[in-house]
């Protein structure tokens, strides 16, 4: 079963380090168990956000790329 997404964080067109910063801010605002989806276009952020989530002990549920952007879905 696909879990319900609580919050969508849109980082389209934003450059380093803002997608990372916005991801962190969304976690600070969220409750335990919330599901957050981050969307962005900056290629390196797709690599660095999972590293930060790992450091914060947050589990990635799904991630991938479409023609227009990338997405990362994780549990708080």
């Amino acid at each position: 079963m696909i879990e319900q997404i609580t919050t969508v964080v849109d980082c389209t067109n934003e450059n380093c380090p803002m997608p990372l910063v916005k991801t962190r801010k969304s976690i600070m605002k969220a409750k335990d168990g919330d599901i957050i989806k981050v969307i962005g276009t900056h290629p390196q952020s797709f690599d660095e956000i999972p590293l930060a989530l790992d450091s914060l002990g947050k589990k990635i549920i799904d991630k991938g790329k479409t023609d227009e952007n990338w997405y990362i879905i994780f549990k708080v």
Partner: protein
């Protein structure tokens, strides 16, 4: 959860690009869940004066302010956050800023001259050293 690691940085330079780097790295560490303290001293502290960010020169190719104008355009073009946004984010993520009181005396900077919305504490090197002693990562910019 284990106790979060700490980072301390001395921001000595008043160059726009170096202060920007300090805030970018600071935001990065905060995003990874670490605690970050920036100690602004000497020329670095001048950038925390009101309008300090917009008056800060580039470390290279400043060309009497022309280089700074060009960099501002390029930052906008590439959607890189402004120094103001980076400083705001740094505070929103819980970053701490200490203003060096010895520099304040030396350069005749008064508290109302500084960005009080950014500065958390006013202190001397001793305060910085206590923070630094309890942290794992140390940077000097």
């Amino acid at each position: 959860m284990e106790k979060s690691k700490k980072v301390t940085m001395i921001v000595h330079s008043g160059d726009f690009d170096k202060v920007m780097s300090a805030f970018i790295v600071g935001n990065g560490f905060l995003s990874l869940g670490l605690e970050v303290t920036l100690f602004f001293t000497f020329w670095g502290l001048k950038t925390l004066q009101k309008n300090g960010f917009s008056n800060a020169p580039l470390s290279k190719m400043n060309m009497l302010g022309l280089g700074r104008k060009m960099i501002n355009k390029r930052l906008k073009k590439h959607n890189v956050a402004s120094l103001e946004e980076l400083a705001r984010s740094f505070k929103d993520l819980g970053g701490k800023i200490i203003a060096c009181t010895m520099t304040m005396e030396l350069l005749n900077i008064k508290k109302p001259d500084l960005r009080e919305d950014l500065v958390d504490e006013y202190g001397t090197v001793g305060l910085y050293c206590v923070e630094s002693k309890n942290s794992e990562i140390h940077l000097f910019i």
